[in-house]
Amino acid sequence: MTRLRRKDAAKAIAMVAVVGFALLVPVFATDPATTNIAVFTAMYVGLATSWNIMGGYTGYISLGHAAFFGFGAYALGVMLAHLGIPSGFEPFLFVPVAGILTALLAVGIGWVALRTRAATFVIVTIAMMFMIQLLAENLSGLTGGGAGLSFPVPPWSGDFYNTPFYYAMVVIALLALGVSWLIRRSKFGLGLLAIRDDEDKALAVGVPARAYKLTAFIISAALVGMIGAVYGYYVTYIYPQFAIDPLIGISMVLMVFLGGLGTLWGPVLGAVILEPAQLSFAYTFGASKLYLVFYAAVFLLVILLLPRGIIPSFMDLVARVRRRRAVGPSAPAATASDPHAVAGIQSP
């Protein structure tokens, strides 16, 4: 018992440290170049975590989440323009509204896309993304079409400019993490994992698979839409190919796979590793398309060398080392001296 409690306490302390560190970033890193990286990293932490709620827990791989991202950005932009909302902190109040609108879109898309499974689902999500992109292009009365849509320019300047956006991204990322954590602990979450492992058996034991999948899809999309909304206000100008960018959609997926599909902290780890790397690639190679080649190379290395992701691979390694220690010739001594040896037997 005490051992378990000590482990929980350690976990809680680690979590407070991570959150505290995240909240303090703008205090010790003030120059805009660094905080810009921080904004995008926090953004991808949120995106990867939200994507994982659908892709990781249910096993339904959506490559079209960029649609929700861009839709959220457009939703906020159109609202700000049509309601005449001034720049400042007010637009942030409308971010949840953008999230709700994205959720409504996800109901429609999910209802159609979730009629399919496996490979077909992946394809349908890609197609849906291009459909939304085309809509953003064609509904030019609302979205500005190919000419793009401008947001009110934020009034802040200098070192402070990035700070409100950073905190907005962190708040949504924490919200996504909280939701992800709650889902993992709930009966709903168990149902999602059952769907991932074997949907037909899950149905047979009474998991309302269709409703569960759709719910996970909507939650995931709404969070991504909110992040997109903040992003739109941050970059202040969006156009269809830029807001609904397939690269954004694939990046969040890659981060989840790097960190660990279906784990709580995997997406966070993946985003924290990959996004700064991605930004420095883009910075080093600038306009040159060579940056894409490097990105693809990293991508391939991750999938081929670490197909299960960092956290599950690491957990496996730890479990294997402990088991070896526990059953090896010097086992009794090791068990006695190592307080974690028994607790180390974890499900992979």
């Binding site: 096993g59 339904y60 791989i61 490559l63 159609v112 896309a113 009629r115 399919t116 499974r117 496996a118 490979a119 077909t120 689902f121 992946v122 394809i123 349908v124 890609i126 197609a127 849906m128 993304m129 291009f130 459909m131 085309l134 809509l135 064609n138 991932r196 492992d197 074997d198 949907e199 037909d200 397939p246 690269l247 694939i250 997926v253 890659l254 796979f257 599909l261 040159s288 398309k289 060579l290 940056y291 894409l292 080649v293 490097f294 990105y295 693809a296 190379a297 991508f299 391939l300 999938i303 081929l304 197909p307 299960r308």
Partner: protein, 291 residues
């Protein structure tokens, strides 16, 4: 009415090249159960190879296929062996990501070598046309259609009239059973991937003759190709051919009847309708495997 009729004819002619590209894609899916998201990029790569041969040696684009198709076949085999074969667990999902990464790599490489400016393949038949009744049809569409038809026919002959084709079809039907009766599934997979990629080269030439393209064009292309093979039913060659022609006819007619801006959108509307009415596609069997 004449306009609609003209649109139907153009739909059929342009549908041919999409049928060819989609067949390669659906063949790869059928044999390996993987979605090759990089197929569009491979088509564009094929187009650029012919473009380079034309620029450097003034080789006719159609003629250049003699060199580019075997080259692309080899590229396909190598890609399959190096990147797709090592995937073991969670193959369907990981293969999507791997082929996506390949698409990005090809896009980046092409952008680095050829820049992002739009280019188009040139040949004498690209601008000259002939009249049928009241329509003027450019030779390039007819030649392209003929080429696609010929390659499709060759593909069907290989698949349905040779032992190797039987091995491919057996693998498509049931991988494990094929293995049990002595089919070397790994070898079949690599060769099928190579065939799919080499047809992409042919598709690339026809696409490049009739459309301006740049390294980023693969996104538009793959979204259409994927829609077509879902419409036809994943893994069904017949479905891919019929789906492609159907889609292109509807798109071209919609461009005339509704507006060119919304023609693309009709593509996706059809997809939604098909998914609601018949999620397995026209000729598909319902995919039951978990991802």
């Amino acid at each position: 009415m004449t306009l609609v009729l003209e649109a139907v004819i153009f739909g059929i002619l342009t549908g041919g090249v999409y049928a060819l590209m989609a067949s390669g894609l659906t063949l790869i899916f059928g044999v390996m159960r993987i979605i090759n998201v990089g197929h569009g990029a491979l088509v564009i790569l094929g187009a650029y190879l012919s473009f380079a041969l034309f620029k450097s040696a003034h080789i006719d684009p159609f003629l250049s296929l003699v060199a580019t198709m075997p080259a692309m076949f080899l590229i396909g085999v190598v890609l399959q062996v190096v990147f797709v074969r090592p995937l073991k667990d969670n193959r369907e999902a990981l293969s999507v990501l791997v082929t996506y990464a390949l698409a990005l790599g090809i896009e980046g490489l092409l952008g680095f070598i050829f820049s992002n400016n739009l280019v188009q393949l040139n040949a004498w038949y690209e601008t000259s046309s002939f009249a049928v009744f009241d329509f003027h049809i450019a030779y390039v569409y007819v030649f392209g259609f003929g080429l696609c038809l010929a390659i499709l026919a060759a593909m069907f002959v290989i698949l349905y009239r040779t032992d190797f084709g039987a091995a491919i079809r057996a693998t498509m039907l049931n991988r494990t059973a094929a293995q049990l009766i002595g089919v070397n599934v790994d070898r079949v997979s690599a060769l099928a991937f190579g065939i799919g990629v080499s047809t992409a080269a042919a598709g690339g030439v026809v696409f490049g003759l009739t459309n301006a393209f740049n390294p980023g064009s693969h996104y538009d292309l793959i979204s259409r190709l994927l829609t077509i093979i879902v419409l036809g039913g994943l893994g069904s060659l017949r479905g891919a051919v019929i789906g492609a022609v159907l889609m292109l006819i509807v798109e071209d007619v919609a461009a005339v009847v509704i507006s060119p801006v919304w023609a693309n959108f009709v593509f996706f509307v059809i997809l939604v309708v098909v998914l609601v009415v018949r999620p397995q596609g026209l000729y598909g069997i319902r995919v039951r495997e978990r991802i």
